[in-house]
Symmetry: C3
Subunit: 438 residues, 3 copies
């Protein structure tokens, strides 16, 4: 027997990039399931890793019984063809037994094998959970539904929306609680932040009414996921027009270990499916004192095009000016200074190269090697060669593995995205990236 | 029977804006209770939501027995007229049984009904608590005092100062512990950060000796309050001259859900009583790349007066320059760019308008509506009309309710501030704001 | 009997500035213990507060049995002369019983009194711990080793590397768990962050592959140390060339109460031994709107040398310009403005002065006094006298004590650094700093 450790992920997917919600029933349409039907046809980069027919906030309260029927109908008809996981969100509230019972009835109904949807469903999403005892009430309903319908105990995944201080605290107890014989909390799959309701629950106020960034919540969600073998997903980004802002939020999330995010539109799905994957080509950055700007890759040279940084050759050295602060430097000092100011964003190809190189060295008995990266930096027509050395040891290698593991998880579970990945990286890089580390 | 949920606030006040401390006995004065007597006469915006006769740090150790007597005397005499709650702070320390016993004796003494103060007192503040077992020791003394003096068990509110890592951790246990039959921790009311002693307990050092900002502590206090139905209050802001800094701290706190703050002077009380209330008039902000600056409201136009952003009309479009970075844009692109750069701070009137509009739509069966806000932005004499659409659904409505709920709580509990509120907002807005959402 | 409180530190050292690791066995060298032997000879500012012969990540897996022997040999030979504590790191992993058993065998072996090393060893460092039950497994092995070798139960200190979300959460349980009769967790000494493996465990990604800053982890480690009477130490700073970056990280850590840091080279040890000690001379800072810059101390005057801030005398007042924003001010307004813009970094001498002054006032019965600090600020040849008043009370005094307590801990435990401290501060300041507060 191999004991499961909580640090292993418990479900098919080890990574979820995208959590896409769709209203289950829209009033006033001839076909109230129209949006659901449309979303069920998504494929490729427009299809999320997890599709969430949303029978809670996205659907009017009066339409939710009809919404439950729509889920059954559309998933039974189109679920077979859908390329990834389906986890409907049902109603729940830590403070309302009426709402909890309604949620239970919807799960019981949707999961009825006679209706033909359950074989295409992977689990359900429970919003508005409170403390850990509230999570256990939901888990118990899953167990009853499984027993009632002859499904394996624990086979339905349960994901929760973290949208209260109580739920944030509960994430600290999961690791302890998940092993107990009186529950089946091993069914837990995703921890999803819900910042709108969280803001209400925390009674936060901002002058413009914008949501606070809640960095501590996102850290704690990522940590809870790490400690209990779950997957952390950030909440919705409301300003759909603002693609740049959505990307910045994802970069910030990724540095916290939160690699998934809610998507409200297929356009956001495409962005969020791509964001945690390494870029197709590498690029150099220069810190101009206020921000990191991309250098223009002109073949052999990386050219700075801004005007905050300037560089001049004098008879016996250089004058480097950053935002008005001048420094007189000799060539070595200038090189040192530029090393501090520059950084390289590696491509998938670069990452796989480095990993292969480390693996070869390790196989030959070397525990740490220096990875060199060289470039010619050009500022105001003055060209300087720089080269960085970074030591790679086993820990560096393991940490660099995260985006590659994510890629491999996508590749294994999303054949509908193989063409897109080949277009992005080229067949040869895709092949090497699927092999490395195994 | 309606079960209480922890998410409901347990006391009369659901919000506390201001926590104002006064020394209880000052040596060398003819009347050692002079400051206490003076503070007991505060009314209106100068009177705090919670007044704290401070028999701990603000009062010399040798004067604390006299301070306890002064509290009794002044509160018995003037408590009836005092417009809000009174919670004296007594001595306590997690590491000193002597101090804890002294604190118990002071509560027992001050709460004696024969002395006439207790009917005007709402509870006591316990500083320097440690882990949850230490909180229980204080709670037990409250219970004994209540029993000894024939008061209802749990009727005295207990608030604590969070000024140790142990107390910060204890806030994660409150929700679990508050329901137990062996304590009366439901008496808990405010969680108040005490950053000076917390800094000492954490052994933090800053070069200038200034206090660290402790964002994680404030988050955890707000979360602890949210999870246990309590009220979060920030610690003292020492630099009394620095009104701007005090306001910035409050804005930062509000975004964390910490709506109350310590006040050291009646001037700070006025600032802190106003800060979480929506402004009397709205205003537009423009992000100039380094900060958000107020636009000058000239009736129909919102005029930018700075020099970091400039705008020029060319024959076939516009040139927008932000801190030296120029962009050539057509009219639609310019409008899009300005939408990203601007934000609107709604007034109380605006907020009530939006809420009423959403309520009307909801009553008519619509779950989400677009709220439009239009303006003419003027930069370098070039005027551009912009209009934002923001979707409001039930969750947006609920989150927007927080400042209005705070206003309603103030209005209900602080009749002495009715005139100030009418002066600020006008009678009609006050009336609508007290009605909305009910 | 005096009960121990968890807020007291449990071991000889109350502060650890430096945690210096050395590989225990290097392949391909004639003497595989060469680095260990060399490090064992460090003295003075190059010698760390805690030396960690590293039989885990710094040493190749195949060399670790030999590494354990090298530790025994080198420590038996040179441990007597080593000026501070020695805590070897052995192997451990929450997910591998094989690794845990190997770690146990290494401790059992190294601690054998017949081999002569244990009398110079203070404890062991356990990496890769998980939840609290995993910590207890390690503690149990320490107890068995102590019993087996006739050492006092609990006499070997245990320190852990926090490099998983599970371990981060476990720090919240320490205070509760440390008192239990079934463990000897009071042996815990240091909580050391390990950001490389933590980043892997959290599955975080950054574009350049740099480590995230993990502010919440560092806060939680410092808090865990505070609540359980332990010492918080930050992880390695990989970019050894970047002295400025290392210093900035330490300043950031110190504001969190994390006063120790990993050092990878003797050069980093020197930096990190000095960083938390107050400077030898004070200096004035001016906030130029983007950052705080040092003023040039020219005897009686503090001169600003930058060009973002300018000051001009007009007939009837002054024009102060900060980054292009001009203000017309009279003399009082200018003084007020400069007070807001300036700050003073006190020297050790200044701190001791202030503490002595407060102690004298307190002995004379005064609870709070104003500390004045005056300077003449010169901008563009215009000189203005300013004076700040800061109120000191008992809490201010206690918080100011932290760097002095650290100094006293160093002075008591590191006689090998007495000369360096005297060179830095002068004998008289050293003497007063060792006396103050006692």
């Amino acid at each position: 027997m191999t004991a499961r450790t909580h640090d292993e992920r418990l479900h098919d997917r080890e990574f979820v990039r995208t959590f896409f919600t769709t209203p289950t029933a829209v009033e006033g349409e001839e076909d109230s399931a129209k949006m659901l039907r449309s979303a069920s046809g998504l494929q490729g980069m427009e299809a999320p890793d997890v599709w969430v027919p949303d029978n809670e906030d996205a659907t009017a309260p009066s339409m939710r019984d009809e919404g439950a029927q729509n889920i059954v109908e559309v998933v039974a008809a189109n679920g077979e063809e859908f390329p990834s996981e389906i986890h409907p969100r049902i109603v729940w509230h830590r403070d309302s037994p009426e709402t909890r019972y309604q949620g239970f009835q919807h799960i019981l109904d949707i999961a009825d094998p006679e209706k033909g949807a359950i074989e295409h469903l992977d689990g359900f999403v429970i919003p508005e959970v409170g403390g850990i005892d509230d999570w256990k009430k939901a888990d118990e309903f899953f167990t009853i539904v499984e027993n009632e319908h002859g499904l394996d105990e624990g086979s339905l995944a349960m994901s929760v929306i973290i949208e209260s201080g109580a739920a944030e605290l509960a994430m600290g107890d999961l690791r302890e609680e998940m092993g107990k014989p009186t529950n089946n909390l091993e069914r837990l799959f995703m921890l999803v932040d819900g910042e709108v309701d969280y803001t209400k629950d925390m009674r936060a106020i901002t002058p413009t009414g914008d949501l606070p960034a809640w960095p501590e919540l996102r850290h704690n969600t990522s940590r809870g996921a790490s400690a209990a073998g779950l997957i952390a997903v950030d909440g919705p980004y409301d300003d759909i027009r603002d693609v740049e802002g959505y990307r910045e939020r994802m970069t910030d999330n990724q540095a916290k270990g939160m690699l998934g995010i809610w998507s409200l539109t297929p356009g956001q799905v495409v962005e969020a499916n791509q964001a945690p994957l390494p870029p197709e080509s590498g690029r150099w950055l220069l810190d101009d004192g206020t921000q990191q700007v991309d250098l223009d890759d002109q073949g052999d040279e990386q050219v700075y095009g801004g005007d905050r940084v300037s560089l001049e050759e004098t008879g016996d050295g250089y004058v480097l000016s950053v935002g008005g602060d001048e420094q007189e430097l000799d060539e070595d000092e200038l090189r040192e200074e530029l090393l501090d100011m520059t950084a390289y964003v590696p491509s998938m190809d670069d990452i796989v190269d480095s990993m292969e190189e480390f693996e070869a060295a390790r196989d030959a008995g070397t525990g740490a090697i220096a990875m060199e990266r060289a470039a010619t930096i050009v500022i105001d027509d003055v060209a300087i060669d720089i080269a960085t050395d970074r030591m790679w040891d086993e820990a560096t290698y393991q940490a660099a593995m995260t985006p590659v593991s994510l890629f491999q998880d996508v590749y294994e579970n999303r054949p509908d995205q193989h063409d897109d990945l080949a277009d992005r990286y080229g067949e040869s890089v895709v092949e090497r990236a699927t092999d490395v580390g195994n």
